[in-house]
Amino acid sequence: MVTNVTSFGRSGLYDWLVQRITAVILAVYFVTLFGYLLLNPDLDYQQWQKLFSATWMRIASLMALMALCAHAWIGMWTISTDYLTSDMLGGKATVIRFFFQTACVVLMFIYLVWGIQILWGI
């Protein structure tokens, strides 16, 4: 067993499952939103605002936002452990990888809080 402490759930199975579930959530959310735009070609601000202030839409949007953060974290972590390795970058790899991973987490957290602020500010 290969040990690792920086992955999302520390288990490959858990990460894999989260990646799949969040992908489905994102797909459903964005396809639905896209369908809504297609069905309402002359959408105005009032209607758009009403849609996003509905409780169910806030739940859906928050769920999609959280799914996006988890999905992106697992993806970025995977990329960093594929390419930012000592085979690729030599001795400094661990420092670079850890810095990259930390930057990703911080960025994801900022987006999450910011996103919540936007959703509840409507």
């Binding site: 067993m1 288990s11 199975l13 594929d82 390419y83 085979d87 690729m88």
Partner: protein, 204 residues
């Protein structure tokens, strides 16, 4: 066959080095990269890889350290094979005769036991190139499933526990490069899928 070309070259220049033994696709020693695709030189007809008037380019298997010419250092490949404990584990008392298997249970091992460990698949897998020390690779995982699927093995739980981390199995991205090159026509991607479902079943 490509191997005959190599033999011819070796007769001209005895310093040319490559591995081969059975010269009929059984031993798995002469895995190499032939015109960009991994395969066994002994069963790859020159006509199947070279268009008329084209070139024949032979390289060592990609991703492993080259020892000399076409000979690569396969230590890490065997290390991954060793990790999956490629032997039957059964802690029940041994019967006086062999441990028997029903024909149906035996059939489950078809498409798995035939692997000759030529390393064509693992050295064609980008995930193995990036993490050869951590990702078991298609060859090792095919064998891992060969023992997981064996009705006589009693260590399923321990075997699965060793595969659950983010690297051993889950580095497989389903690119299927392994399936494309296996000279034995085996399907490591499918075996990896079975391992994943076994892990999922055990954990949910």
């Amino acid at each position: 066959m490509v191997l005959d070309v190599l033999e011819l070259l070796k007769r001209k220049d005895p310093s040319i080095t490559y591995r081969r033994s059975c010269r009929e696709g059984v031993c798995g020693s002469d895995g190499m990269n032939i015109n960009g695709t991994n395969g066994l030189a002994c069963i790859t007809p020159v006509s199947s890889v070279v268009k008329s008037g084209g070139k024949l380019v032979i390289r060592p298997l990609p991703g492993l350290p080259v020892v000399r010419d076409l000979v690569v250092d396969m230590t890490v490949f065997y290390k991954q094979f060793e990790k999956i404990q490629p032997f039957l584990i059964n802690n029940t008392p041994a019967p006086a005769i062999e441990r028997l298997q029903s024909p149906e249970d035996r059939e489950k091992l078809d498409g798995l036991y035939e692997c000759i460990l030529c390393a064509c698949c693992s050295t064609n897998c980008p995930s193995f190139w990036w993490n050869p020390e951590k990702f078991i690779g298609p060859a090792g995982l095919l064998q891992a499933y060969r023992f997981l699927a064996d009705s006589r093995d009693t260590a399923i739980n321990e075997r699965l526990a060793n595969l659950e981390d983010p690297f051993s199995v889950f580095r497989c991205r389903g690119i299927m490069n392994c399936v494309a090159v296996c000279p034995k026509g085996l399907n490591p991607t499918r075996a990896i899928g079975h391992i994943r479902s076994m892990l999922l079943q055990r954990a949910t």
